[in-house]
């Protein structure tokens, strides 16, 4: 299925920025990355979405040549990550999950240091640093030690440090974790600006909204595996075109409601809220009829809503985590789980 689409994209955009096949990395008994396949188009923003411990950071460290895979292969910007790591490093920039700045130095010194290491002379390195500091709203803090910076300032400086020389590909590992909404919006704008000027972005996140907002394609990863891949719209479509959310008046009625809805050909999911159910439906028109039948069967409905499935629901449907206390994930119709 994906192979055809893949070829089409290759023809349009040249070779992918990242192509990984069966990438595997173990730490002792932990399979941090367990056979990951990826294909990222040049110029795209690509999202790796997954919960804590899913293997996002390990994937980024593999692709940025910091660690070597146990098995599998990957080419980044056309170069093999194992046999040509230097060539890979020449075109990438990495902003790790935890700010990798020298806290003893000023923000400006940090950027000048990277500039000098990338071959800029003293004066060009300093003027580039000032340019970046101004662009990221850090001009006033430029001459303060990084240890005095707030989380949002560190994040922006950390990203700026990856842009001293414009990379062809930038890895951003959870760039907005721990940021307030305002700083998050700033980072989003930075990421979109980057992609707008042709840099490929591989972004990891635990925020479904973030992947939805930024990424052209998303790989959902869990326990080191890609469990679903596609555009945000595709992922949503796999769960059904729409979702009906029901809140029953009384949780004791829920199992009866599930049985009744199932008998009508639906696949209701039990929500964390013990009175809540959600079910994929073709369109909103069926809602009044379903609610009328529930009421007729003596199951009062306190509240209902119809909407697009959120990425959140997609994620839970795919992983079966948390949202399903009973454990049995009931994926929506047409859902392809790639396990």
């Amino acid at each position: 299925m994906a192979a055809l689409a893949e070829e089409g994209r290759v023809e349009r955009d040249g070779p992918p920025a990242i192509i990984a096949e069966g990438l595997t990395k173990r730490f002792g008994a932990t399979r941090a990355v367990d056979g990951i396949d990826l294909s990222v188009r040049r110029g795209a923003i690509y999202g790796l979405l997954g919960p804590n411990g899913a293997g996002k950071t390990t994937t980024v460290r593999l692709l940025s040549t910091l660690i070597r895979p146990d098995r599998g292969r990957a080419r980044v910007l056309g170069h093999d990550i194992v046999t040509e790591p230097a060539a890979v490093r020449a075109g990438i920039a990495l902003t790790g999950q935890f700010a990798s700045l020298d806290e003893d130095l000023t923000g400006r010194d940090n950027l000048v240091l990277i500039g000098r290491l990338l071959g800029l002379g003293g004066r060009p390195a300093r003027s580039r640093a000032d340019q970046l500091l101004a662009a990221f709203g850090l001009a006033e803090a430029a001459r303060r030690q990084v240890r005095t910076y707030s989380g949002g300032m560190r994040r922006r400086l950390d990203i700026a440090a990856s842009l001293v020389v414009t990379p062809d590909l930038i890895f951003l590992d959870e760039p907005t974790t721990g940021l307030d909404p305002r700083s998050r919006a700033q980072v989003w704008a930075i990421v979109q600006g980057l992609a707008g000027r042709g840099t490929t972005v591989l972004l990891t996140t635990q925020y479904l909204e973030e992947a939805d907002r930024l990424a052209e394609r998303i790989a959902v990863i869990d326990h080191g595996r890609v469990i679903a891949e596609g555009t945000s719209a595709e992922l949503k479509a796999r769960v059904g075109s729409g979702t009906l959310h029901l809140t029953l008046a009384n949780h004791a009625e829920r199992e009866r409601a599930v049985a009744l809805l199932a008998a009508l050909g639906h696949q209701p999911r039990r929500e964390v809220d013990r009175r809540g159910l959600s079910l994929p439906v073709a369109d909103a028109d069926v809602a009044p009829d379903l609610i009328a039948r529930l009421i007729a069967a003596g199951i009062p409905v306190a509240d209902f809503a119809y909407g697009q499935p959120t990425l959140d629901q997609v994620f839970f449907a795919l992983t079966g985590h948390a949202a399903e206390p009973e454990g049995a994930a009931t994926p929506g119709p047409g859902l392809e789980v790639m396990r």
Binding site: I92, S100, L101, D102, D104, L105, L113, Q131, R156, T166
Partner: protein, 273 residues
């Protein structure tokens, strides 16, 4: 609408900048050395940490035991100070490991390792930057010593020679702590382990007392203790009686350490974490 609710201002666009030709190993090493210097300028207290105990020992031993050990505090200070200088640069060299481990545990090295630079440059640069710290800490301790009456009999040229010798020695010793820094998890552990190595080496030596009164087994240890060898050489240099054999012997241990720990450190550094 409160300002918090307002959409965050989009950062100004960053103009693109094309890749430059690589700086090359020498310049990259110098850039890292410059970083060490800058760090020291921002955190001079780091130097203070390592010189405070040598200074305390100098003052304490001179006035408490100087009379008993050497007849007069002044004579004792003349004997003690070269050894204290050795102790000072050794303590300073521990900080090389400490800083390196901090870089690793804080993730700074991950960024360096993903840059298209000569891989050993961060370590080579840190060690090169140490020349300044060794020189600065030795000069401060020397100045304090002269303040309470120490006189380098051999004059300024000998002081320069002594500084060069101290730097060579500390450069060698520093590789032990660098390797250690790459092996253990936290900067604190580096410190603790380093002190466990340093304490016996500095006290079971000829820094404080002439080993002639020590038991035989201890004298045997002092005779081969690299710290004692460098102290002997340094006393010669500063006391206007430089001895080529002493100096040669003093540099054997640092040379061996570089030969063993240098490659080991590079191996540990290249290892993935």
């Amino acid at each position: 609408m409160s300002p918090r609710d307002a959409e965050a201002p989009a950062p100004a666009p960053v103009p693109p900048l094309d890749r430059h030709p690589p700086a090359g190993p020498v310049r990259e090493t110098l850039v890292f050395a410059g970083r060490a210097v800058r760090k020291l300028r921002h955190n001079p207290e780091q130097l203070f940490d390592v010189i405070v105990s040598p200074i305390m020992f100098t003052v304490m031993f001179t006035y408490l035991f100087g009379g008993a050990l050497a007849g007069s505090p002044q004579d004792y200070l003349q004997f003690l100070l070269p050894g204290i200088l050795v102790q000072t640069v050794m303590f300073t060299s521990v900080y090389t490991g400490f800083t390196l481990n901090q870089d690793i545990s804080k993730g700074v090295f991950d960024r360096f390792r993903a840059l298209p630079i000569w891989r050993p440059a961060p370590i080579a640069g840190a060690i090169a930057g140490d020349v300044l710290r060794y020189t600065a800490s030795a000069l401060i301790v020397l100045a304090v010593g002269m303040g309470i009456g120490y006189r380098p009999e051999a004059g300024p040229a000998a002081v320069l020679a002594a500084l060069a010798l101290l730097n060579l020695f500390a450069f060698g010793i520093g590789w032990v702590f660098t390797a250690l820094a790459l092996l253990v998890r936290t900067p604190g552990t580096v410190m603790t382990l380093s002190w466990m190595v340093l304490m016996p080496l500095t006290f079971a030596s000829n820094i404080y007392v002439d080993p002639a009164t020590m038991p035989g087994w201890l004298q045997a240890f002092v005779a081969v203790n690299p710290v004692a060898l460098i102290v002997t050489a340094l006393r010669g240099v500063l006391g206007a009686m430089p001895d080529a054999v002493d100096i040669g012997l003093a540099l054997v241990a640092p040379a061996l350490i570089v030969a063993v720990f240098g490659p080991l450190t590079m191996r540990l550094y290249a290892r993935e974490r």
